[in-house]
């Protein structure tokens, strides 16, 4: 049946001199020699294909592994007591109580989304959702942290709409509400947009499934979409090197998604789990069948025998190597006992899902793959899946780091003549809120279904997305993702900690108890020692901070080589935090509702002069100095206050302070439901020794603004006093005014911003670049 020469193991043993294209497949010379050493002969073409994809940066974490160990090492018993599955599986699993468990993970699909925005982003959702299914969970929501180049750059107009419609087109078709994320514009992401995707799923404890092939004689089945030529080498080629104009187009390396196939696959897998028909399961993502067979085999009894011609193909001309490397989407591999084969086939029949039995589990310790009866792969699966190369890449603090940190905003040219009068301060608030990074993102999020499932209790623009898990009790989860790449650029150690602190704070602000962390570490090339230093520092910072806050990293993803023509992105360790709600009806929204007229507004935390790396500094074109001080003890106390206040029904609105400081928080709280407020910064300036500008625009951490009924003020301030945490009454909700009024000790005494005008300006920033067709365009389309 083969029309090409099959390179069998036998052939490989007798033709040691045959030249193989290991370099084209992305392997380094020493890596190739190591494969020869492991096998005791040259690899066959199929074996070479497997090793090359599995040993790629994307699959093997060869540059990052030595650092990532810290996430597993820096833990306490307290941190792991609720952890049912830790790092290393498809996704970590946390015990939620009442017999429920939750699994969540963030991944990147950065490189494919730059090459082909729609399919790159779509298959990013598809891939992370399959990771969640393969743990035995029903996926219940997705989120998307996105970073694009300059909002006015022509290429952003190519990338952003494609990414957004890809996320919507795929995610909406799966019936998964999109409950939040981030949208950041910065020219450092111009040729390296970051398209990260988070998925969360829930399951009963007994439904937990792991990726291992146990039970000698059990059958191995591949099901879902057919295998095609799309995405061959996608993970290894795309995500493991920088873009370079001189190379041919990478477009064919991007996978193409079929959300309908994925939706059917989700329901079909959940029925398999419910009927207990699979022993082990693994999704096919990067490295396709190579990854699934070698990981399943090495996590189980250590052996598997597969006949590769049984794989159902979209393209019959594919070679064995291509079949092993293909990253065609919407495929799963499972291990099924012989007695369950018939029942398994019945479920496939019901859902109309194609499947083929590839082989069986053995106890030989070898992964044997045959092609029409001839052995083309004979390897120890551990050497493919787990014993890839590990690099201790050299790293060093960049020489320019000191100079960068010495360039403080205050002493720079940009930091002179700062807004000081009522008029200037008011204008600065409007300028801040209409800057691309602070603008309304609903043009984007309105393209995502946030209602499907009927369990969304909070979504964008609130601080965290909140999903009900148990309809009887209201048990649920909150999720937030955050990262300020500017902070991480100024200080990667602190920047990673600040990303965690912000996500933690957002989850607590919604009222949930933070429980677990997933991270997506987006960096430049690990072959550059200065980038490697950023990476090492970020991992060290994040793992230290997780230990201090008592939240374990349960999984995540590393995306390296995010650089083009030698220009790397800011280090961007995106951190997702998952928190638990006893009852999601207690969740706190991020703004005042109309019925909250007259409620007291409190600022929690201490404000210092911290403008380096701030949004205001960005408006003035400055990036230098050191990021705001990390104070994890304060974050923890603030979190406790916000969680207790939510649980005891003391507060009706809460919003964390981050980019844009107090000014942004106050504006966002009023914009949330169009309800105004009157605020004074005078006492704050006196207490913390600040000028009004700093009070409004500093980005000091561990702060939040809350609104509460006057009847709760005493109880609330008693709580903050008992914990020794600063709480200052700064104003009242004013539902009648239709504006945000700020008074203070500055020339003019007060400024007011009309909410209608502010909303108009704030919400038109993104549509004016990407949106609304003109009337003429609509007319043309209707003809």
């Amino acid at each position: 049946m083969s029309e090409f020469n099959i390179d069998t193991v036998e052939n490989a043993a007798t033709t040691p001199e045959t030249e193989l294209p290991w370099a084209e497949l992305g392997l380094k010379e020493d890596e190739y020699h190591r494969i020869v050493e492991i096998l005791g002969r040259r690899p066959t073409a199929a074996e070479l294909a497997m090793y090359s994809v599995m040993w790629s940066e994307h699959c093997s974490y060869k540059s990052s592994k030595v650092h990532l160990r810290q996430f597993g090492e820096k833990v306490t018993d307290q941190m792991t007591k609720d952890l049912m599955v830790g790092i290393g599986e498809n996704a970590g699993v946390t015990d939620l109580g009442d017999g429920w468990a939750v699994t969540f993970k963030i991944e990147s699909h950065n490189h494919p989304s730059y090459v082909e925005p729609y399919q790159g982003a779509a298959t990013g959702i598809g891939g992370i959702v399959r990771d969640i299914i393969s743990m035995g969970a029903r996926p219940v929501a997705v989120m998307d942290p996105l970073r694009f180049g300059d909002i006015d750059h022509p290429d952003t107009k190519r990338v952003l709409p494609g990414v957004v419609s890809g996320i919507g087109g795929y995610g909406n078709s799966l019936g998964l509400p999109n409950i939040g994320g981030e949208v950041v514009f910065d020219s450092v992401y111009q040729d390296n947009p970051l398209v990260n995707a988070l998925a969360v799923g829930v399951m009963r404890h007994q439904d937990l499934r792991l990726a291992n092939a146990s039970g000698v004689g059990n059958k191995v089945v591949l099901f879902g979409a057919r295998t095609g030529g799309d995405g061959i080498g996608g993970a290894s080629v795309l995500a493991s090197e920088s873009f370079d104009d001189a190379k041919p187009s990478k477009r064919p390396a991007v996978q193409v998604g079929d959300p309908f196939a994925e939706k059917v696959l989700i329901e079909c897998c959940l029925e398999l789990f419910g009927k207990e028909l699979v022993e082990g399961i693994q999704d096919l993502g990067a490295a396709g069948i190579s990854c699934a067979t070698s990981e399943l085999a090495s996590n189980g009894e250590g052996g598997m025998h597969v006949e590769l011609t049984n794989v159902l193909l979209r393209d019959p001309t594919l070679t064995p190597g291509e079949i092993l490397m293909s990253e065609s989407q919407e495929r799963m591999m499972a291990v099924v006992t012989p007695e369950n084969v018939e029942a398994f086939e019945a479920v496939m029949g019901k859902w109309g899902v194609e499947y083929s039995w590839l082989g069986e589990v053995t106890d030989t310790g070898r992964l044997i793959i045959e092609w029409d009866g001839e052995t083309i792969v004979d390897v120890d699966p551990r050497t493919v899946a787990h014993d890839g190369p590990v690099y201790e890449r050299p790293y060093r603090r960049p020489a320019w780091q000191d100079e960068l940190q010495a360039d403080r905003f205050r002493s720079s040219g940009a930091g002179q003549n700062l807004p000081a009068t009522a008029e200037e301060l008011g204008e600065a608030v409007v300028e801040l809120m209409t800057s691309p990074n602070m603008a309304d993102v609903s043009w984007i999020t309105d393209q995502y279904d946030r209602f499907v499932g009927g369990n969304t209790a909070l979504s964008q623009p609130d601080d965290a997305g909140v999903i009900r898990v148990d309809e009887e009790t209201g048990l649920g989860v909150a999720l937030a993702t955050d990262c300020n790449g500017r902070y991480a650029y100024l200080d990667p150690y602190a920047g990673a900690q600040l990303a965690l602190a912000e996500a933690y704070r957002n989850v607590a602000t919604s009222g949930a108890v933070p429980m677990a962390v997933s991270d997506c570490l987006n960096f430049g090339s690990p072959e550059d020692p200065e980038i490697m230093w950023q990476f090492a520092e970020a991992v060290r910072g994040l793992s230290d901070a997780c230990m201090e806050l008592g939240v374990p990293v349960t999984g995540g993803n590393v995306s390296l080589y995010n650089q083009t023509a030698g220009r790397a992105i800011h280090p961007t360790p995106v951190v997702g935090v998952m928190g638990r709600f006893d009852d999601v009806s207690r969740r706190t929204p991020s703004g005042y509702q109309r019925w909250a007229d007259g409620q007291a507004i409190y600022l929690l935390g201490t404000t210092a002069d911290e403008l380096d790396g701030s949004e205001f500094a960005r408006l003035r074109g400055h990036l230098g100095g050191t990021p705001p001080r990390v104070d994890l003890a304060a974050e923890k106390t603030l979190g406790e206050i916000l969680i207790n206040a939510s649980r005891d029904g003391m507060i009706d609105a809460a919003h964390d302070l981050s980019e844009g400081g107090l000014a942004a928080a106050l504006a966002e709280m009023s914009l949330r439901f169009g309800v105004g407020a009157r605020v004074s910064v005078q006492e704050l300036c006196e207490r913390d020794g600040l000028d009004p500008f700093t009070a409004l625009f500093s980005e000091s951490q561990a702060r939040a603004v809350v609104a509460l009924p006057r009847s709760e003020e005493l109880r609330f301030t008693d709580m903050t006093t008992a914990r020794g945490f600063p709480a200052l009454r700064i104003g009242v909700v004013d539902a009648e005014s239709g504006g945000l009024e700020v008074t203070g000790d500055f020339p003019g005494g007060s400024f007011g911003i009309g909410l209608d005008e502010l909303k108009q300006a704030w919400s038109s920033v993104i549509p004016s670049r990407f949106g609304a067709l003109t009337e003429a365009e609509i007319a043309t389309r209707e003809q």
């Binding site: 419609s165 909406n172 959300p259 309908f260 939706k263 999020t445 309809e471």
Partner: protein, 259 residues
């Protein structure tokens, strides 16, 4: 019902196991259906019994009414609803819903993709094309209820304004000029968009009914506005809107013989 014993979509209990009290309302699952659980929840909250129906099963298992929920049936790669209309379950639904001799033909509600399927099946006039702005849109939408003579709208007051979420890509309702004139003249526009037209639909039409009034289709999603805390925003607060529930209590009430 706790989520633990919620049947998997498609893995439904046999009708004998279902509760027999109250109206029994079938909720059809096609491959690619997304809002079936939500529709079933809405039926339960309205006091009815939701009976899962499967696309490949011709039997309606004796249900009193049928809901075709939203989603992307069979992926909707060809044209929304174009394949689903040929599903075995649709043969029975079309026949029972359009039975001319029947005193009370089967009440059928199509939501979003369900509406698209009903137009493809010619139970309702018109068709749906891509939104005029060419994007998927998810937002809270105000509708005016203009026909309260159907079993699905009996408990609304004439011209009542309701808020329900809408979310679709192919939601622009189009219909020939002659048919448009006819459905307007016969008062068969059941729901109309209030305020800015969200997708370019003819005459701001959000939902229509057949001449007998038993078949209703609408693009927005009343099943997402049935439970305080998870619906659209309304005057009483965030996500508090439950206007959609009246659609489900209407049919349950109609089937019980009252209003």
């Amino acid at each position: 019902m706790t989520a633990a014993d919620t049947p998997l979509i498609g893995d439904f209990p046999s009708p004998a196991e279902a509760r027999l009290d109250g109206a029994r309302i079938g909720v059809v699952t096609f491959p690619g259906t997304l809002d079936d659980r939500d529709a079933a929840r809405a039926v339960r909250l309205a006091g009815g019994t939701a009976v899962p129906l499967w696309h490949a099963d011709q039997s309606l298992h004796g249900v009193d009414a049928v809901i075709l929920p939203g989603g992307f049936s069979y992926g909707d790669y060809l044209r929304a609803g174009a394949i689903a209309r040929f599903a075995p379950v649709m043969t029975t639904i079309v026949s029972e819903a359009s039975a001319q001799q029947a005193e009370s033909p089967l009440p059928v509600l199509g939501i979003c993709n369900g509406f698209q399927i009903l137009t493809e099946a010619h139970l309702l006039p018109g068709s749906m094309i891509k939104n005029d702005h060419l994007k998927f849109i998810c937002k809270d939408q105000v509708l005016r209820v203009e026909n309260t003579a159907t079993p699905w709208t009996a408990q609304f007051t004439q011209d009542e304004l309701i808020a329900v979420p809408m979310k679709n890509q192919d939601g622009q309702y189009v219909v020939s000029a002659a048919e448009l004139e006819q459905i307007e003249a016969e008062g068969r526009v059941v729901f109309r968009y209030v305020g800015e037209n969200p997708n370019g639909s003819r005459n701001h039409i959000a939902g229509v009914t057949n001449p007998r009034g038993n078949v209703v289709g609408l693009m927005p999603h009343p099943e997402h506005a049935v439970e305080a805390g998870y619906g659209p925003d309304d005057a009483t607060g965030m996500r508090s809107g439950t206007d959609g529930l009246t659609i489900f209590t209407s049919v349950v009430g109609s089937l019980a013989g009252g209003k």
